[in-house]
């Protein structure tokens, strides 16, 4: 995925995990750089297994994992630099939101004052300040999700692993949480996020890892991944005043496989096997009198890539 030094990235080397005879993930080779990386795939594709492997909650059957140069089998060092917000919607009994985060910080060896300060800070960042003294048992799903997030970020980790972190959040909180993720990524953090909501993945991710049946089927920046999918011609949407004339011109070239006028008659959807040559062609056409308003790729988002590579095992949202 990148050439970042091993002590600055998360590295999977030929990692496999089997639960008895059931495959978790198989032969995974990854190097995840800083920024937001989304793990995308249907249920059972291996997203959570991959997260549990990098945090040492499960051990690989084979292969080696390194998180910023640390092994997941060194919890005393690893979890000072890593926070993990799991998908488990369960909490230690009888704690308030504040006690939950505070107690976790005491496990770090923090004194009372330091733990209190960090807990209040983290709870404030996820917008739960007013509910901090309430029992977690009385929290809504979205609040429970946020208090878990507060616990994961409370010690200012360099790596944040988030398993379906947007589940249960209302649209406003969802937007705020995504903004928080972006801010953290801009600070140089690694954010590893799994999500089913593909349009959100598309908006927030710097790179994606697509998983299917325990295998990594694609990884990298989403546009780079799309470029490598040769069997599906690239779709390009062109807004212009003369779509018919444009269609007749682009059809003269063998790398254009389809051109369809849009319903509103103000544009053209083109499928091409060579996007670079097609863009050069468009430049020439634009100089010859057809007024082209905009040109945009129509299928280099996560949803399209997901459908091309993984198919319709699970309808994406």
């Amino acid at each position: 995925m990148n050439d970042v030094a091993p002590d600055k990235s998360i590295v999977f080397e030929d990692v496999s995990k089997f639960y008895g005879e059931v495959l978790g993930v198989n032969r995974v080779n990854l190097s995840i750089p800083p920024g937001i990386t989304s793990l995308v795939g249907p249920n059972g594709s291996g997203k959570t297994t991959l997260m549990n492997l990098m945090t040492g909650l499960v051990e690989p059957t084979r292969g080696r994992i390194s998180v910023l140069g640390l092994s997941p089998r060194q919890p005393e060092q690893l979890f000072r630099r890593l926070g993990y917000c799991t998908q488990y919607d369960s909490f230690p009994r009888g704690l308030t939101g504040y006690q939950f985060v505070y107690s976790y910080l005491r496990l770090f060896g923090c004194g009372h004052a330091k733990a209190r300060e960090l807990a209040v800070q983290a709870i404030g960042r996820v917008g739960l300040g007013e509910a901090a003294e309430r029992s977690i048992a009385s929290y809504s799903k979205g609040m429970r999700q946020r208090i878990k997030l507060a616990q994961a970020i409370c010690h200012n980790p360099a790596v944040l692993v988030l398993d379906e972190p947007l589940n249960g959040l209302d649209p406003l909180i969802r937007a705020e949480t995504i903004a928080l993720f972006r801010a953290l990524a801009e600070q140089g953090l690694h954010l590893i996020i799994s999500s089913h909501v593909l349009h959100e993945v598309d908006v927030i991710s710097d790179q994606v890892v697509l998983l299917s049946n325990g295998y990594v089927v694609a990884e990298g920046e989403i546009r780079g991944v799309r470029d490598e999918i040769q069997e599906h011609p690239m779709q390009i949407l062109i807004r212009c005043n003369q779509p018919g004339a444009l269609a007749s011109q682009v059809f003269l070239h063998d790398y254009v496989v389809e051109a369809r006028v849009l319903h509103d008659g103000m544009g053209l959807l083109v499928k091409t096997r060579d996007a670079d040559r097609f863009y050069l062609l468009l430049n020439r056409i634009a100089q010859n009198g057809i007024d082209i308003e905009s040109v945009a790729p129509a299928d280099d988002d996560v949803l399209s890539v997901y459908e091309y590579l993984i198919g319709t095992e699970e309808p994406p949202k």
Binding site: R106, L107, F108
Partner: protein, 287 residues
């Protein structure tokens, strides 16, 4: 890293944090109410006994009551109350969190799993010691409550009574240490707590007829050796009876050997648990 360079101060703080978290859960859990009942049932029994004698205006026999206490202590309190109390407290330290799906919070903290194990064990031990040592003391108070204060003073200060009280408290504490370590290990090693509980119960019951070396691998062997008052033959009935088998220690260990033996056994069991815990994975889905 040399022994002295190990981060002892950090581990101490982390253990204290674990104990703080766990103690509240262990001591005040609603699902642990039956442990209180088990622990304090003998207190109610002795209080009722004293009350009936006072009401009837009868004078009790101090020696007989002392032997009755020894019998109840060995047959009921050690073998059932503390045994099953420790099952309830220690087995749940890890097993309960797996069932609650909350163990991963500990596994995601920068804490060595051995340190976590020590913290959890100490919290369980503290809770068990508070409950069962309090009960032991209250049992003695309830038992001797109806005697004249001169008789009690004579017993305490001139007839080794204080020594007996200390010994019973010590045995109670050691029972918590021994059974605690075993059931904490069972909670780490086994998914179904019933099977190890029954196996340990059987082992502890038959330990009296095992070869001397195997007897030393049971907690009750050391506890029986440390009990200050033997159960009289009139209670244990004839020589081959089950009660004799339970109560009599043919070759009791000396006090020092018994204490060191039990502590060594507990440390060995805890060390075994820590090896398993080190490689323990979070797989709630399989529960």
């Amino acid at each position: 890293m040399s022994f002295r360079k190990l981060p002892w101060a950090l581990w101490r703080r982390q253990i204290a944090a674990v104990v703080r978290l766990e103690l509240k859960k262990t001591l005040f859990a609603r699902r642990g109410l039956w442990i209180y009942f088990l622990a304090f049932a003998p207190v109610l029994l002795y209080a009722a006994h004293s009350f009936v004698l006072i009401k009837a205006g009868r004078r009790g026999d101090f020696g007989e009551d002392t032997h009755m206490f020894a019998a109840v202590f060995q047959f009921f309190y050690l073998r059932l109350a503390i045994f099953f109390g420790c099952v309830g407290i220690f087995m749940n330290l890890f097993r309960g969190e797996v069932l609650d799906k909350s163990l991963h919070y500990y596994f995601l903290a920068p804490i060595r799993r051995e340190v976590l194990l020590v913290g959890k064990y100490l919290s369980g031990l503290l809770a068990a010691a508070v409950i069962f040592c309090c009960s032991t003391l209250l049992q003695l108070v309830a038992l001797y409550w109806y005697f004249n204060s001169n008789v009690i003073q004579d017993y305490l200060f001139h007839a080794n009574g204080l020594g007996h009280v200390a010994a019973y408290l010590g045995v109670t504490l050691l029972a918590c240490i021994g059974y605690g370590s075993i059931f904490l290990a069972a909670g780490v090693l086994f998914r179904n707590p019933l099977v190890p509980t029954l196996v340990v119960l059987l082992w502890e019951t038959i330990s009296g007829v095992l070869p001397p070396l195997l007897q030393k691998c049971s907690v009750i062997f050391y506890l029986k050796s440390l009990c200050p008052v033997s159960v009289p033959a009139s209670i244990t009935l004839d020589k081959g009876s089950l009660l004799t088998l339970l109560a009599v220690n043919v070759n009791p260990a000396s006090t020092v050997t018994a204490i060191l033996g039990l502590l060594t056994l507990s440390v060995a069991v805890l060390a075994l648990s820590s090896l398993r815990l080190r490689r323990m994975e979070i797989e709630y889905g399989a529960e």
